[in-house]
């Protein structure tokens, strides 16, 4: 049978090829074994017996942060860190030393940690096979001591690591934020993003918001170490990886402006101030009081110090400029006026019933801050004098929804979308909000009288206040406040679309507002903010605080004819906006807008009339 024998030969051929491929494969394995176990045997014996191969992380330097003119705000510099590194357990001598009673106390003494902390960190490192940081930025004397005693303290090592350094200490601390050592839960969370034990991670401010841009990528190399864990050489084979440095950031902050703000706010116990450029929403300076020094976090913070910083009434870590919420007080009259003019229930020239020191609404008497009464005022005059009675009459005519809409148009009651974490929304109550709180129809129109003058449930942040002023300066155009102008050498940041719609109104409305706000500073409640030769438009506010003294607020933009700065100053528990916040704003405006020749300090401005009356809700 020829076909059968042909078929058999055919199959045998194929068997030969399959078996041949298989045997070639096994021959390849044998070749590999011969190379490892015979040719290079000596070398691998050395590596396994006396030496160990270890993976070492080379930390990427974090990107630097600069102001808008390239002045340095934060960078990284090499520093010496004392670490514990787990070592091979079979090195009997090392293990015995580790278990000697004095190991922990001696290490504790060198690193300044307490013994339980040392034990804990060493245990974590041993479990995960990773190094544990014991002391960052160790001074030379400690390094010398570590070097001397290292043969008796196995596992202890000195590493060169980039240390975060904030060039101006607590200056701009809240907006820069700080970077701290990554903890175990963060590490687990970001397991696949290349973080290692001991890495710094941005916790607040720009450091947190731009973490992925700033951090870069750690590198790694294989090194040969001896049985005591000491580095002997770099391994020539094996994939290493150079670190990739993080990118540098250029902020919109102007160091000069920031310094002025810091200086002016230096005497303030608690509060916040924000200066921004109304033309593009770039933030020029941002201050919160009390402040902290972010450098403390780079050095590693003790638990006690952390507790002190993070809790208690003062809470220095809180960024009051974007997280602190305050009742707006009379600054909110700007919103009421805008809403009333837009709705057409009044014009700049409209006069309501004259102010006689208060206003009867239903069964309730609503007092004006000026018990003597303002007499008959038009809308501009009412804003200038911050007359409560005028605004009491606007409130019910206007209704809640138009007021709320205008406030939201200015970006109040919602996050401004600034590129900082944990921004507060503030609060602008709506019909639905009151219905939910009191029950549908169970709240009276009387609420509107309070809202119209900025009292009641309203809350806003200093940033929102500054943003509102900027938007009025720009005739209602929506603005997105932002802090970063570029990633150096990579991309420019273009301001994103604003979070709020802005406010649309006729030119007559804006004209009336501009006139009214200028009158406030020229001749009204805000005269303390006057500076020579420059027209300033602003509004004072005094927010009643059930827990203590009133909060003082002042918001403005200047120069009124060509606005380049919008500014908000809030000082907690200090008194009246006109007498406390407005003079601070004046000092900032002076330094920013006047030439050096006019920088001689003036005598303290005379307090406006309102303060001398001492009325409870005066402004």
């Amino acid at each position: 049978m020829q076909t059968s024998s042909q078929a058999r030969r055919f199959r045998e051929e194929r068997f030969a090829l399959l078996a041949g491929v298989a045997l070639t494969g096994f021959a390849l394995v044998i070749l590999g074994l011969l190379r490892l176990q015979v040719v290079e045997h000596e070398r691998y014996v050395l590596l396994s017996k006396e030496n160990r191969v270890r993976l070492e992380i080379i930390r990427a330097p974090r990107g630097s942060i600069y102001d808008r003119h390239g002045e340095l705000l934060a960078d990284t510099a090499p520093s010496f860190t004392i670490v514990f590194r787990p070592f091979p357990v079979e090195s009997t001598r090392a293990v015995m030393l580790l278990h000697r009673a004095d190991w922990t106390p001696r290490v504790a003494e060198l690193t300044g940690l307490d013994t339980t902390e040392v034990k804990e960190r060493v245990a974590v490192a041993n479990r995960g096979g990773q190094t544990a940081v014991l002391r960052r930025d160790a001074p030379f004397s400690v390094l010398a001591a570590v070097e001397e005693t290292r043969s008796e303290l196995p596992g202890l090592e000195v590493q060169v690591e980039p240390l975060r350094h904030y060039a101006h200490g607590s200056l701009a601390a809240h907006l820069l934020g700080y970077a701290g050592e990554i903890n175990q839960s963060e590490l687990d969370e970001r397991a696949d993003r290349g973080y290692h034990l001991g890495d710094l991670v941005g916790r607040t401010g720009v450091e947190k918001n731009y973490e992925d841009i700033l951090r870069g990528r750690d590198g790694a190399e294989f090194v040969v170490v001896n049985a005591m864990g000491r580095r002997v050489a770099r391994l020539s084979e094996g994939p290493g990886q150079p670190p990739v440095p993080g990118h540098d950031l250029e902020l919109t902050i102007d160091l000069k402006v920031q310094k002025v703000l810091e200086e002016v706010m230096a005497g303030v116990e608690r509060g916040g101030a924000v200066a921004l450029d109304p033309r593009d929403g770039s933030i020029l300076g941002l201050v919160s009081r009390p402040a902290f020094d972010p450098n403390e976090f780079s050095h590693g913070l003790s638990q006690a110090r952390w507790d002190k910083l993070s809790s208690g009434g003062a809470n220095p870590l809180l960024n009051r400029a974007i997280q602190g919420v305050y009742p707006p007080g009379s600054t909110f009259k700007v919103v009421t006026m805008t809403a009333a003019l837009r709705a057409g229930i009044a014009t700049a020239a409209t006069r309501f019933d004259p102010c006689v020191g208060g206003y009867q609404f239903g069964s309730r008497w609503f007092a004006c801050w000026n018990k003597a009464g303002h007499g008959s005022l038009d809308f501009i005059g009412a804003l200038e004098q911050s007359c409560d009675v005028y605004f009491y009459q606007v409130g019910p005519k206007l209704g809640l929804t138009p007021l709320e809409e205008t406030a939201r148009g200015f970006g109040l009651g919602d996050r401004t979308g600034v590129d900082l974490p944990q921004e507060s929304r503030g609060l602008i109550p709506s019909v639905a909000w009151y219905d939910k709180r009191w029950g549908a129809g169970k709240w009276s129109k009387g609420l509107l009288l309070n809202l119209a003058i900025g009292q009641g449930e309203l809350l806003l942040t200093p940033l929102q206040l500054a943003l509102m002023m900027a938007e009025i300066a720009e005739d209602g155009r929506a603005i997105r406040p932002h802090l970063v102008q570029a990633v150096r050498g990579v991309q420019e940041f273009h301001p994103q679309k604003p979070a709020q719609p802005g406010v649309i109104a006729s030119p007559a409305v804006w004209d009336a507002l501009h006139k009214g706000l200028e009158a406030v500073v020229a001749s009204g409640t805000g005269t303390a903010a006057r500076i020579p030769g420059i027209r300033v438009a602003g509004k004072t506010g005094t927010a009643q605080n059930p827990h203590g003294k009133d909060h003082a607020l002042f918001a403005c933009y200047a120069p009124a004819d060509d606005p380049r700065i919008a500014l908000a100053v809030v000082v907690e528990n200090s008194g009246h906006g006109g007498s406390v916040a407005a003079p601070l704003a004046a000092r900032v405006l002076r330094r920013m807008l006047l030439p050096d020749s006019l920088q001689t300090p003036l005598p303290r401005p005379v307090a406006p009339v309102a303060d001398t009356t001492g009325a409870a809700d005066a402004d």
Partner: protein, 408 residues
């Protein structure tokens, strides 16, 4: 023709059986050594002993039932295995960043292992069909699809090593089924196309290779057209698909193709494995005397890197013994395919042996640093219950053929 048993019991393939048993025994001893030192895995070898018993039982059982039963059940079995693969993608358990396992109460297994056997059965059934002629495109094209479906599903887990065994099995079985070698290579060009694109990022290499291949093989026009159309479609689609992926997805695919680029992960393992094997030398450090494995420098030393422990403790002699046992197993297996008279049985044998061979190769080359870390265990040696039972089933199927090698 009828076979008479000459008064003897049916004959299993003794060398093959002994090779498999020998490997399991070496595996047990090494797992004992690797998990001997105090640590998380201490005492795992008793469980491995239990699994070995179960695997032997499974082999016995599988060998006892006539392979005709597997032949007729091939398609249902294949569909069930696809269903399980789909289930993995939906609700699988992750390990080392990939979803590979299914858990039913205490039971935990990799459906890709089952899919491999099922694909072998279904391909053997197809190629053994009376009118099947693998020189004709309409006969082999559907087979391509049958193998590519589980390939794609396993690749998505992602499990590169296991997924690649599907095309490898397909190649061997097509070849054994009578497809001309040239046509075979041409038919697989779309797969090479995709792989080369991911490995090199360009299609030039592939294009050149394809032209040479066509010139050598000189296929029929119809075949050529289909091949070119398939490759064109793949070449067109890949860059588009690639650009549509998010950055993290691209990165994932890149690490998947080149695991060595991650030095803190698999690069470390390879170096430790090489140190373990290299320091073993010719005679080894002696049983239970390995130092690398005791220091936990060798991660997964009882599973994926068991061969490194063999190399360290038993040296070149031990490592060579294992290689020779595998070589015996594989060649003996292919020989079984040669002598088996039944078409289905013969094809199934080639498929199963090739699957085993591929796993052995990928794992061994990985431990000596010549292949990327893919997470494939070493058949019969590595710790792992389901893997061992599946190996038992594979050996059982081979012995099934051996018992009935004379039947048509």
């Amino acid at each position: 023709m009828r076979i008479r048993w000459r008064g003897q019991l049916p004959q299993i393939d003794m060398p093959l059986a002994l090779a498999a048993l020998g490997l399991v025994a070496i595996g047990l001893a090494t797992v004992f050594s690797a998990t001997w030192a105090p640590g998380a895995h201490q005492g795992l070898w008793t469980r491995q002993l239990l699994w070995a018993g179960v695997a032997l039982g499974a082999a016995w059982l599988i060998a006892g039932i006539h392979y005709r039963a597997y032949d007729s059940l091939a398609y249902p079995f294949y569909l069930v295995s696809l269903l399980l693969l789909a289930l993995v993608l939906v609700m699988g358990t992750s390990a080392y960043g990939a979803k590979r396992w299914l858990e039913f109460g205490p039971l935990k297994f990799q459906p890709s292992e089952i899919a491999k056997i099922a694909t072998v059965l279904v391909l053997a059934r197809r190629f053994d069909a009376p009118h099947c002629d693998l020189r004709k495109i309409r006969h082999w094209l559907p087979a391509l699809l049958l193998a590519l479906i589980p390939f794609a599903m396993v690749a998505k887990e992602p499990d590169l090593g296991t997924s690649l065994s599907f095309p490898v099995i397909l190649i061997a079985m097509l070849y054994w089924g009578g497809m001309p070698l040239g046509t075979l290579l041409l038919g697989l060009t779309p797969v090479f196309n995709v792989l080369l694109f991911f490995m090199t990022g360009t299609l030039w290499w592939f294009g050149g290779g394809l032209i040479v291949l066509i010139a050598v093989v000189r296929p029929k026009w119809s075949t050529l057209l289909v091949i070119l159309a398939l490759n064109g479609a793949v070449a067109y689609a890949m860059p588009h698909l690639w650009n549509h992926l998010a950055d993290y997805q691209k990165r994932r695919i890149e690490t998947f193709m080149n695991p060595d680029q991650d030095p803190s992960g698999s690069g470390y393992q390879i170096i430790q494995s090489k140190i373990a094997i290299g320091s073993g030398g010719v005679v080894g450090k002696g049983y239970l005397r390995g130092t690398q494995k005791a220091l936990a420098f060798l991660p997964m030393r009882h599973t994926d890197f068991i061969y490194s422990v063999v190399g360290e403790e038993f040296g070149l002699l031990g490592a060579l013994t294992v290689v020779l046992l595998y070589a015996l197993l594989i060649v003996r297996g292919y020989r079984l395919a040669l002598v088996a008279r039944n078409g289905f049985a013969s094809l199934m044998t080639v498929g199963l042996v090739t699957a085993l061979f591929f796993h052995v190769m990928v794992n061994m080359l990985m431990t000596i640093g010549w292949a990327p870390v893919t997470g494939l265990p070493l058949p019969l040696l590595s710790y792992g219950g389901t893997a061992l039972i599946v190996n038992g089933i594979q050996i059982g199927l081979l012995q099934n053929v051996a018992l009935r090698r004379g039947e048509f």
